[in-house]
């Protein structure tokens, strides 16, 4: 683990108008890690990712990416820097085809032959997307949409990939397939991953480290394996 975090949140406060969703959140993510944020519904997990991406305005504190503050950078300027999010609910462009969705992942890139190669790479990770490349995104099943959302994010060539609830609403077999791919992306491409999950068991098995978020505050930080065996966590999040 290198000394400098690739992504760091320092005493971040953010929210929606009068609703304060995050209160003094600090996180450090090091290059090559898979970090999980677990917590109940409404704890502020998605808000954390949306604040990192500049969609939810930062009220106090600062966010550093690669050592530089990104708090004043417009959301659309972040993917070219290597920071990309797969948001909750996948948010596939429903009336664009699978291939168009992927091409838009590479919107800021101009290296046509390489974009084509990356599309082929996504199709090799998720063969079903290749079979359905002319189909509208909105007609795909939930699992296929999640695959497309991850594929689209890969097209931005992320150094840090933020994943929001990739398991939500999917069948167990699909979840396993998707988490295998996530592990693969981390291992083979060295992509750092910040994973947000309600399914704590799944997230902590995939992660190296984890944070527990409760009503907008970080209450615990530990190695994923330790969290997995922490009796309180097991009681609160793993249904024991």
């Amino acid at each position: 683990m290198s000394a400098q975090p690739i992504l760091e949140l320092k005493n971040v406060h953010s929210g929606y108008g009068s609703i304060k969703a995050l209160k003094d959140v600090s996180l450090k993510i090091y290059p090559g890690e898979v970090v999980a944020i677990i917590g109940a519904n409404g704890a502020g997990k998605s808000t954390t990712l949306m604040t990192i991406c500049g969609i939810v305005p930062l009220e106090k504190g600062d966010i550093f990416y690669n050592g530089a503050s990104v708090k004043n950078i417009a959301p659309e300027k972040l993917p070219p820097l290597g920071l990309c999010q797969v948001p909750e609910g996948r948010r596939i462009f429903p009336r664009l085809t699978v291939e168009e969705n992927l091409i838009l992942g590479a919107f800021y890139r101009n290296d046509k032959p390489e974009i084509q190669r990356d599309i082929e790479h996504v199709y090799s990770l998720f063969p079903v997307l290749g079979e359905r490349n002319r189909q509208k995104g909105g007609t795909l099943s939930g699992g296929e949409q999640q695959m497309l959302a991850i594929g689209r994010a890969l097209m931005t060539k992320p150094k840090v990939l933020l994943l929001d609830e990739p398991s939500l609403g999917l069948a167990p077999i699909i979840i396993h397939q998707i988490f295998d791919i996530i592990a693969d992306i981390n291992r083979n491409q060295g992509t750092t991953i910040l994973l947000v999950e309600q399914n704590a068991n799944l997230a902590l098995q995939a992660a190296t480290r984890g944070y527990v978020l409760e009503t907008g505050q970080i209450t615990l930080e530990d190695k994923a394996s330790s969290l997995l065996h922490n009796p309180e966590i097991r009681k609160a999040y793993l249904g024991e």
């Binding site: 500049g54 969609i55 659309e76 990309c84 948001p87 948010r91 009336r95 838009l104």
Partner: protein
């Protein structure tokens, strides 16, 4: 039968012009869900910029020697002027209201419409301004059917613009980004698409098409007037609603239908009611099928 064909040709000409204007309404609505009531004024401004340059070129005598060049330059300058005018209007009058209730921007649009129309009146006068009259006299005659050279020009140019727009929106990366922005602005930002640029582009393209329509109307009817944007503006709006607001193919189809209905209504029912037909259609569509012909979620040609 001959008069039917004649009417059909006139209907296509007028319908194409409505289609060009309707596209601006529908594209802007598709991207920011705003009915841009100032859109008709871009059409009028285009007509004026066109007459100014065409008169200028005619005065210099270039119109005799290089008619195509003069015409192309006038179209290009008018379209560019209106595109930048629309982009400016969006930045000043709509962008600050983007996070407010939708009614705020709508009222702002009405205000801009009055402002631009009065601006045109104060700078260009209250009287009709005549287009150089010697342009495009005559036409092809088949028995008693006449197709004016001007009609041929209008239909061809309209067709070319519609094809170009379709290619842009459905075949290029920037068109893809426009459609993505219309569908989900947050997600677009997460894949590095800046919505401000796309919104400006949408306004610019819509106003450019309206400006082209403005020159065509000026050429076709021989003159322009400061308040000429109002009636074609709301007729084109009716066309956009008829086609399904937000849907590009729908706007083209709606424009054509409104143009046809107007010409045939005037020809076979009564010329005095010519302006009424578009609004009967508007009311009918809103009453029976508010989503229009190609309304939302039915077809994928929505922006």
């Amino acid at each position: 039968m001959d008069s039917f064909i004649q009417q059909l040709i006139n209907g296509i000409t007028l319908g194409g012009i409505y289609a060009l204007i309707a596209l601006g309404y529908t594209m802007v609505y598709g991207v920011i869900q705003l009915i841009n009531f100032a859109h008709g004024e871009f059409f009028a401004a285009g007509g004026y910029v066109g007459v100014i340059f065409l008169s200028f070129f005619t005065g210099l005598g270039y119109m005799e020697t290089h008619p195509i060049l003069c015409l192309t330059a006038s179209f290009a300058l008018a379209m560019m002027y209106c595109a930048y005018l629309a982009i400016g209007v969006e930045k000043i009058a709509y962008k600050p209201l983007r996070k407010e209730a939708r009614l705020a921007a709508l009222l702002s649009a009405l205000g801009v419409s009055i402002f631009l129309s009065n601006g045109l009146m104060l700078t260009q006068g209250v009287y009709d301004k005549a287009y150089p009259s010697e342009l495009f006299q005559g036409g092809f005659s088949f028995g008693i059917i006449t197709i004016g050279y001007l009609q041929v020009l209008i239909v061809c140019l309209t067709g070319a613009l519609l094809v170009a727009l379709n290619l842009l929106v459905f075949k290029t990366k920037i068109g893809m980004a426009m459609r993505a922005t219309a569908q989900d602005k947050t997600m677009s930002a997460l894949v590095a698409i800046g919505s401000n640029k796309i919104i400006s582009l949408t306004f610019g393209i819509g106003a450019g098409l309206a400006a082209a329509a403005g020159i065509m109307v000026g050429l076709y009817y021989g003159s322009v007037r400061y308040d000429m944007g109002f009636l074609p503006g709301i007729k084109a709006f009716s066309a956009a609603v008829l086609g399904g607001i937000g849907n590009i193919t729908g706007a083209m189809l709606g424009g054509l239908i409104i143009g046809m209905v107007e010409i045939f209504g005037a020809g076979y029912i009564s010329g005095e009611y010519k302006d009424v037909f578009a609004f009967i259609i508007l009311i009918g569509v809103l009453y029976f099928k508010p989503t229009g012909i190609m309304g939302e979620n039915i077809d994928d040609t929505r922006v």
